[in-house]
């Protein structure tokens, strides 16, 4: 018996390989009609036709990361420059260049740059967080054809329920269907 047989199954399901976008949409609709709602679609490009069908109607929460990252940058930029100006004036009696301790026009530039910097950093962090990256090799149903010219519809299910799912995907126009399991890593 192979060593993997002692490991718990992390994910199992049926994947259908499709060539056409409209066949993918049809398969997703049929699967949902039969109660298979927790599915995912592998795509070589972000097909808006498929995303409109599959993705949740609400927009990506990455936008809040962009917003609050930017706001944090603006606040930090003004706060840092003003803190330094006030501190050096109050405790050291330094009025650099004869300018007020809080020189707003000059500090706008610092605040602007930090707005962009922290906004972009937060956007990247949001993208990585919500996309659940980085991830290992353990992804059920994925194949190299999905980064080239094929689309994949993966429906999680156990082996006992695989047959009707495979039939469903074939009827919707899948070129190929297969049942896959991935096991928990050590």
């Amino acid at each position: 018996m192979s060593r993997t047989a002692y490991k718990a199954v992390e994910e199992a399901g049926v994947v259908g390989v499709f060539r056409h976008v409209d066949a993918v949409v049809e398969s997703v609709r049929r699967a949902r009609e039969q109660g298979w709602t927790a599915l995912r679609v592998y795509q070589p490009v972000p097909s808006h036709t498929i995303l409109a069908e599959v993705a949740p109607p609400e927009k990506s929460p990455v936008r809040f990361f962009a917003l609050w990252g930017g706001v944090a940058g603006t606040v930090l930029g003004f706060a840092l420059a003003s803190f330094v100006g006030i501190k050096m004036h109050t405790y050291q009696g330094l009025l650099v260049g004869g300018k007020p301790p809080v020189s707003v026009p000059a500090y706008i530039i610092i605040a602007f740059e930090l707005t962009v910097l922290l906004g972009a950093l937060a956007t990247l962090a949001g993208f990585i967080l919500f996309s659940k990256l980085p991830r290992g090799e353990n992804v059920a149903g994925y194949g190299p054809e999905f980064s080239e010219d094929r689309f994949g519809v993966f429906i999680p299910c156990d082996a006992s329920r695989a047959e009707p799912v495979m039939a469903l995907l074939r009827e919707a126009g899948a070129e190929q269907v297969r049942f896959e399991e991935v096991y928990e890593e050590d």
């Binding site: 498929i50 501190k87 530039i109 956007t123 990247l124 993208f127 996309s131």
Partner: protein
Amino acid sequence: MPELTYSRVNRDILRTLETPGRAYWIAVALLAAGVALGGYCWGTQIQTGMGVSGKFIPTAWFAYITTFVFWVGIAHSGTLISAILFLFRARWRTPVYRSAEAMTVFAVMTAGLFPLIHLGRAWQFYWLLPYPNERQLWPNFRSPLLWDVFAVTTYFTVSAMFLYLGLIPDIAAARDRATGWRRRLYRLASLGWRGTDTEWTHYSSAYMFFAAFATPLVVSVHSVVSWDFTMSIVPGWHSTIFAPYFVAGAIHSGLAMVITLLIPLRRLFRLEQFLETLHFEQLARLMIVTGLIVGYAYGVEFFVAWYSGNPFELSTFLDRAFGPHGDLFWAMVVFNCGLPLLFFAPRLRRNYAVLLTVSVLVNVGMWLERFVIIAVSLTNDYLPAIWRKTFHFTWVEAGILFGSLCWFLLLFFLFAKIFPTVSITEVKEALPEPKRTVTVEGNA
């Protein structure tokens, strides 16, 4: 030529990553030797002291800061193409943008070396960072030199992240076909990307926000760089038009560099069906616009110098055009404003030899522009006793400048063999979606 399909796009673009031939390695070796020469010159300068460079008061900024501004400028069109044209949905940018964005990152990496080289004691670069020293003194947040640190650091970080974000799906495509060290590298760099609907949803959102964040950077970074000069009272520098003038010049030089890099790339990597004449025509058209803006700015500078009634300002500008370095000024005018006008003729802007020649000369012209603005203005200070009309260009400076060009090209050469220089994802997106119901065109 066969019609493009998803599969063909993958195959043709990933083919550019295959093991390179002897010509590539010879080019890499020569460029690495150029970088080593630059490193040797910098080492000599550090060991011997700044005396080996041609720095003299009042023209101490003439070589390194001129070249710093030149390289920061080169970066700009990459962001214009990747971010601004993305937001405007200019579809012609698709095959061009990856190279342009990579060029941005490498140009900023090159530019970032020059303030360090110019510092002399480069190992104390961290004094530029905003933290207090042992006497609780902080850098001056009202100084344009500190603004520059923030602007250039932000520009590099955001551009590098933007480039990487766009690369993730393409790296995953490369991973799925690679073997050996490449597969290990791509597995790591692709972060386990699988192209699920969830990933694409968040990716599309993040990409749009990155474009939105990068867009104001195109305008702001070179504006901040221009304020390094305008915030002083040196005649020829203290001008309110510098920010838009510098931004237009930056985009002008960047477009020229994109053309300079893409024409050989297209030929070497056999990317003719992706980088079509149409794309170069659009870049040439943009160069006409930026060249006219730059020419207008040259004229306005002279008008302001005359209209201000400031004798120091007028004297500087007359010296610029008719003084001992007038030949550089007129070369700058011809290269930057005159030559791009050739692109009004469709026959010329479709001719790759003309495109390459003009773009190289515009690059030379844009370096001369920075030299004329920065160095020639410094020769005419308020104190005639310290005027210095000649420049002493030493072999150390020449070696460092040459080394920086080799460094930039080397980074681009290495990038072009490790990562796709044309976006697989965006080229595919531009194709019709494969549908069962469509059989005449598209991928069906």
